[in-house]
Subunit: 324 residues, 2 copies
DNA sequence: CTAACTAACTAAAACGTTTTAGTTTCGCTT
DNA sequence: AAGCGAAACTAAAACGTTTTAGTTAGTTAG
């Protein structure tokens, strides 16, 4: 084990400071050999304790099993890995206490940076992170009172455009199915929808806008949707998230309403089921690679040049994919 | 900040050893108050360094965005949380080096236990973990040469039953679409299929068994599937994983082959798309809650009573859900 | 009145690194 | 032959806890 060398020397060699500290190449060789043969691995915990950083970036999202988030996670992970960072991810399920617990957990483990799809009620925790000088990037949703780095999509334009597509096809009984989570980007999806209607002289009926509680069971959501469909003579529906669209498709199936003829549908984000569905389901596609690229670029920027505390906001357009 | 108390005393109070160490209740109250007001949080890294454990369990799966794994992850996470453990999960994408890196990462961070859906080639690393006396539970696939704890499903029976279902419906040109990952449970799915055929006097044609490389692009998989469908007069297909079934459904759609009439289909595991599909897709359902429950029970058992090193193997039956 | 015990606390070591501030030993100048 | 700088190393402090082994003061038994 011991190579009759001081532990200081070994540390220098491991951290690539051998030259700088003028260690002879004979010793370097010897130590490296011993390390290789003994399979020695530095204790990262002791390292983190001493250095104060962990080379870990936390990714906090609503639900990692949602393909929108898991795809972005994968993309971010690959890039981060190349720069020596490891991503650890977790889901909040849009529960404030859960998110707070997670942030505390990560804080107490000295995570280096945070990528968060936030929820209302998390402002204080996030501000604390910023105060502690930890890089934080919000994405998917912003907390406007916070002045942080943000990467997101122009949801207003996207849902305006989607709604307009219905109108141009001659639809006029257009419903919007949205979540009830209280966050600017979700409201923007409503605003775009409303603006498109009024711009084309269609009255906005508030009963045509469904707000579905986030943690409601799918069975209840389907009930809610069927209620809407049966009572409101809906001829087209814009779903503000992919999982709402899934419930919606199930509701339509149960009512035996034909998509394309009786009713038109546009969903937000992708899902295997949309491609497979007959007929294909049109979707508002957020540019995942572009989002991930920008997030990782921002975060690596913050991580390397620590001093400068500029904040950047980046809004990217979405793309409408018409499938049927 | 300081409450004119020694840091030892504070540590005792935080760790609930106040009584045992006979600290007066006056001091306990005072310290607790100060902790509350200052928002003090113990540094977990220092803690882990000293105690040698982290209260973290690693969950290593093939792909966390696959609903089979993400559902199990969610179930395990909830249970673990209740016992003071946090789960951190990652995906191997069935790459050995990636899995090795992950295990090393977790090792160097003193993770307390491991739940792994393993791959061939990981035997050595896992044996090392066991040697270091870390609890390890394998699930979904076993590494038979290893004598570890394992929770899994009777894949032989499941695919036997699925294949038999086709036969009873009068199908005889039955194809099996499987992955090429080299692991006992995947082979069992083939064996069950073959046994069912021979038991019913149908010859096993090796061209009717497709082995799809795990990291192949979906486009290529679809090509491969269409090739099979066009040349082999297939009248029914058993897909050994959910994502293969998705590709299969796309292939069938592109060839405009009608499910239920021209061809019957059974998929492994659930997916939103199977429920939504018209007609519904029958599936072999693994009992997710039961799997998760057993995993967590085993791991908590190992974690509490450390000494005893018994290994348990648990094989659970799957359930066939006929949907069309 | 002293020895023994207990209640209430604390000093200091230990965990495994990184990093600062040295210490030796040479070889070169002058 | 003294002084100096560079090369090649290392001792020890520090990170923030937990835990062992005390210490001190007060109480009780004999």
């Amino acid at each position: 084990m011991k190579a009759n060398v001081s532990i200081t020397t070994v540390s220098f060699i491991i951290n690539g400071k051998a030259k700088e500290k003028s260690i002879s190449s004979a010793v370097i060789k010897k130590v490296e050999k011993i390390i290789r043969e003994s399979g020695y691995m530095p204790n990262q915990i002791a390292r983190s304790l001493r250095t104060g950083h962990s080379n870990i970036i936390a990714l906090i999202v609503e639900d990692i099993s949602n393909s929108f988030f898991s795809t972005i996670a994968r993309l971010i992970e690959d890039k981060a890995y190349q720069h020596g960072y490891k991503i650890i991810y977790s889901s909040t399920e849009n529960k404030v206490e859960r998110a707070q617990e997670l942030i505390n957990l990560f804080k107490s483990r000295r995570v280096d940076a945070y990528i968060v799809a936030p929820i209302k009620g998390l402002e204080e925790e996030i501000q604390q992170l910023i105060n502690e000088n930890k890089p934080v990037i919000l994405f998917d949703r912003n907390l406007p009172e916070l002045n942080t780095n943000y990467v997101g999509v122009n949801h207003f334009a996207a849902s305006y455009q989607a709604t307009e597509t219905f109108i141009k096809k001659g639809r006029s009984r257009i419903a919007l199915v949205n979540t009830d989570i209280d966050v600017q980007q979700i409201q923007e999806r409503s605003e775009g929808y409303k603006k498109a209607l009024t711009d084309h002289g269609i009255e906005v009926e508030k009963d045509m806008i469904l707000r579905v509680p986030f943690n409601q069971s799918e069975a209840d959501t389907i009930k809610q949707l069927k209620q809407l469909l049966k009572t409101k003579q809906v001829d087209s529906i814009l779903f503000a998230t992919n999982y709402l669209a899934l419930s919606g498709l199930k509701a339509l199936k149960q009512l035996d309403m034909k998509i394309g003829s009786e009713v038109d549908v546009i969903a937000y984000d992708g899902h295997e089921a949309f491609e497979l569905h007959t007929p294909g389901i049109s979707t508002v596609q957020q540019p995942l690679e572009e989002i991930a690229d920008n997030i990782i670029r921002m975060i690596l920027g913050k991580l390397t040049k620590k001093g400068v505390a500029t904040t950047q906001q980046m809004i990217i357009p979405a793309k409408l994919v018409i499938r049927c």
